[in-house]
Symmetry: C2
Subunit: 234 residues, 2 copies
């Protein structure tokens, strides 16, 4: 197989654009994650390390070398709509309201799969779940969880009961189904527009810290929501 070593090569440019811009195409790294994507029914457009070989310098441009283990695959970017998320009435829709860190977004996508959420609505100010860092943090779950961008107005227009993780709230159980569960930025929490419309849920904790990481808050509330929904398993 020919090794591509020129940055003018069209395949290289396509992989590089997908890893940086993740607009219409995205990259998934590592043999395990790529195998999982195939098992989930996705067909790679191109697999670097199988269909084609890049020089080390070019490969480094498009991958996190530790995660990729020599394999980076190109996929069409999945597009989910709000309608798809709200088609399921037996679980909750997660809304991310200004979650800027791609690692946190990817971790929450993984939690959405683990606790069988209907999907993730990305409100303004949240990181792209299809960036390489978010995809890595999702541990392959990204192709398994519908993710749709939406404005706050579009989300609120659905008219579903809205709950938000917020330290100012009451320590009550999260919803089990047919509701939106929103998480905000690390420092500021959810936006005022969401907070005003939501029932605020606090997680009981000691006074030894000011706040929890947003992915930790999501783990706690989503696992509790799942246990309420599937009591036979808990």
């Amino acid at each position: 197989m020919k090794t591509i070593s020129s940055r003018h090569n069209a395949l290289y440019k396509r992989m590089r654009d997908a890893s940086r811009e993740h607009a219409e195409e995205i990259v998934i790294e590592g043999p395990k994650a790529v195998a999982d994507a195939k098992a989930a029914g996705w067909t790679p457009l191109l697999v670097v390390g199988e269909d084609v070989i890049f020089s080390d310098a070019l490969f480094n441009d498009i991958s996190d070398t530790k995660t990729s283990q020599g394999i980076v695959a190109l996929f069409e970017r999945p597009r989910a709509t709000l309608d798809q998320l709200f088609a399921r009435h037996d679980s909750v829709v997660i809304a991310l309201d200004g979650v800027q860190d791609p690692g946190n977004v990817g971790t929450i996508v993984r939690l959405a799969a683990a606790f069988d959420a209907a999907g993730v609505a990305l409100l303004p100010g949240s990181a792209d779940p299809f960036s390489p860092k978010a995809i890595r943090a999702s541990a392959g779950a990204i192709l398994n969880v519908p993710c749709a961008t939406a404005s706050r107005d579009e989300l609120l227009a659905r008219g579903w009961p809205l709950f938000a993780a917020d330290a100012r709230g009451e320590a009550t159980d999260p919803p089990a189904r047919r509701a939106i569960l929103a998480f905000g930025s690390e420092g500021g929490g959810v936006s005022e527009e969401i907070a005003r419309a939501a029932t605020l849920i606090a997680i009981p904790m000691s006074s030894r810290v000011e706040s929890l990481n947003v992915a930790a808050s999501a783990a706690i509330l989503l696992s509790r929501s799942y246990a309420l929904r599937c009591p036979a398993n808990s």
Copy 2:
């Protein structure tokens, strides 16, 4: 104030060694984290950005520039013993058994503070909680949580009830007090030595993922342990 720009400067070398080796001295970055450390009773040995100024190149060597906001402080490394952790009978001791990622270790230290654990025992194969990456992930909690390294035998010799997060276990509540709660590596779980001695606790979840991130598992079980311990708050 004089700007230090030589890599031969003794203060620079001391800061650099603390950031890389974190043996006897550690670095804490950012005005908020340094203020929190002072509020917790720790006195910095030196604050770069206040007591002394480093050139940009030298400052970049010792800091994550985004987090530090121009401030990196040197502190004596805290040393806790297993005896200190086991002196508290009103909470749980966390044991990390081969948790290699410093970000996960730091996140769990933050959770230990949030859910008022007695402290963290670091078994072989776990990352140093005093590395800059772990300290950043702890969001300042590191100086507030006793962390002690220990062998598995030393931990087991305490004779406390031992529980471990493990998908092979039963979906039962974690202990509330006077017990050890162990977490293992992302891929392999806790070591065989710990697994054999422990009651294994599984977190109920869907079959859409194979496993949870270790910090997510810790968030769920530690928050539940805290709620059982402090029912008035939950």
